[in-house]
């Protein structure tokens, strides 16, 4: 069966981690995996730039990590489960990190979740939203 990755591009505010994106993000995600040891977490936090330079990542990917721009990291092939190693190492929760990708601050985001989460109405299609 021929893959159809295009079909995912109409979902608003969503980056689907396809095998193609995974190829592009391999070194970024490998860097994230390296943070599974306390020793590497310490080395990364001591000098982030030097640690990132040990990886064959693009400059855009490195800048996205340095500025904690999670949406940019997704766009450049990162996946949130890999990226979680970056924020977990800083004591950040998924709610805190994920909220930075929305137009809400963390208090507003948490309030939305407690009230039942984001309503899907209006969030099914970029075309419907006039974004495509």
């Amino acid at each position: 069966m021929k893959p159809n990755f295009e079909q995912y591009k109409d979902i608003p505010g969503t980056t689907i981690y396809t095998i193609e994106l995974a190829r592009q993000g391999f070194q970024l995600n490998e860097f994230c995996m390296s943070l599974r040891t306390e020793e590497n977490r310490k080395r990364f936090h001591a000098d982030e730039r030097a640690y990132l330079d040990e990886w064959d990542m693009s400059e855009d990917q490195k800048q996205a990590v340095l500025t904690r721009d999670f949406q940019k990291m997704l766009d450049l092939g990162g996946n949130v489960y890999f990226l979680s190693k970056i924020f977990a190492a800083e004591g950040m929760s998924y709610v805190q990190a994920v909220s930075t990708m929305t137009d809400m601050n963390v208090e507003q985001y948490q309030a939305m979740m407690v009230a039942g989460g984001r309503n899907i109405e209006g969030w099914r299609s970029k075309k419907e939203r006039g974004e495509a």
């Binding site: 893959p3 990755f5 079909q7 995912y8 979902i11 608003p12 505010g13 969503t14 980056t15 689907i16 981690y17 396809t18 095998i19 995974a22 391999f26 995600n29 490998e30 994230c32 995996m33 943070l35 599974r36 040891t37 306390e38 977490r41 999670f70 949406q71 997704l74 996946n79 949130v80 489960y81 890999f82 979680s84 190693k85 970056i86 924020f87 977990a88 190492a89 004591g91 929760s93 998924y94 709610v95 994920v98 909220s99 990708m101 929305t102 137009d103 985001y109 939305m112 979740m113 407690v114 039942g116 989460g117 984001r118 899907i120 969030w123 099914r124 299609s125």
Partner: protein, 280 residues
């Protein structure tokens, strides 16, 4: 022969593990969610089993992108707990069941399910959080475990049809085991959630409810539900629910709904939980 005696499905939110490990299960935020598992904790005590086959996904904890198996099975004696970026969870080592696991892996491969065989595996919250929800905080887990990791992280994930068929093959393989064992099968992950992008925080309770109803009463209709629908309606991470189809496939045509629980939110996620028993 061995027999599948129950199916358990539950979400596997990492923050739930933090709440257990840090003694916050009775906080206002968490109390209603944990209350929903009190019935289940008693039920698994009253209805013990020898082995739990736990279908789950690794979250870039043991598998990176070096190797990304679509379906895998642990056949080891034991499984250590992963460091997911904040140190390993303080839970007991998970003990395996190599005799049943080698039989299952071999049977499935012979039945054309090309399982990746794992003699070494560290398990993450995807497997340990469901165990904490069902078993609390014991010094030693009460059952032996066969981990069955599924790729739901990288698209394309295995089809719903394939997942349901894998469950059916597991049922046959368990029944063909030469030894008396009672076995439960767990499907973990879900329900609706999206933990990335501007659409993060999506929860779709009507869709989740319909999924639960169909899973129990009409699982064959879920065979052809496209992954695109899960992603749109249940969020990009809602596609984890295909793992529940493996559990359901292993329970046969008709099941009894022993228990159902649904709660929003746990962190970014709608929590869903079922206990089902096979009718034959």
């Amino acid at each position: 022969m061995a027999k599948i005696v129950a199916g358990i499905s539950t979400s596997h939110v990492p923050a739930v593990g933090h709440a257990v490990d840090s003694g916050r299960t009775q906080d206002d935020y968490w109390k209603p969610m944990f209350a929903g598992y009190e019935f289940s904790k008693q039920w698994v005590k009253d209805n013990p089993a020898d082995v739990d086959i736990i279908v789950y996904n690794d979250h870039a904890s043991y598998f990176g992108m070096d190797i990304m198996p679509t379906f895998a099975m642990g056949i080891a004696e034991k499984y250590e707990i992963c460091d997911e970026g904040y140190g390993p969870r303080p839970v007991p080592v998970v003990e395996g069941h190599p005799e049943l696991a080698t039989h299952l892996a071999a049977s499935l491969i012979l039945d054309d399910f090309d399982m990746t065989v794992l003699n070494r595996l560290e398990v993450d919250h995807g497997l340990t959080v469901p165990m904490s929800l069902m078993y609390g905080q014991p010094e030693k887990w009460p059952t032996k475990v066969i981990p069955l990791p599924v790729n739901v992280v990288m698209n394309p994930q295995p089809s719903g049809e394939r997942c349901l068929a894998l469950g059916k093959a597991i049922r046959d393989a368990v029944q063909q085991f030469d030894g008396d064992l009672t076995v439960r099968i767990w499907g973990t992950g879900g329900m609706s959630h999206q933990i990335q992008g501007a659409r993060a925080g999506l929860i779709n309770t009507p869709w989740d409810t319909k999924f639960l109803d169909d899973l129990i009463n009409d699982p064959e209709t879920l065979k052809y539900k496209p992954h695109l629908e899960y992603m749109i309606e249940a969020g990009s991470e809602g596609v984890e629910l295909i793992m529940w189809l493996i559990m359901r496939g292993a329970l046969g045509d008709k099941v009894n709904e022993v228990y159902r629980f649904y709660h929003v939110p746990a962190s970014n996620t709608a929590v869903g939980h079922l206990i089902l028993t096979p009718q034959d």
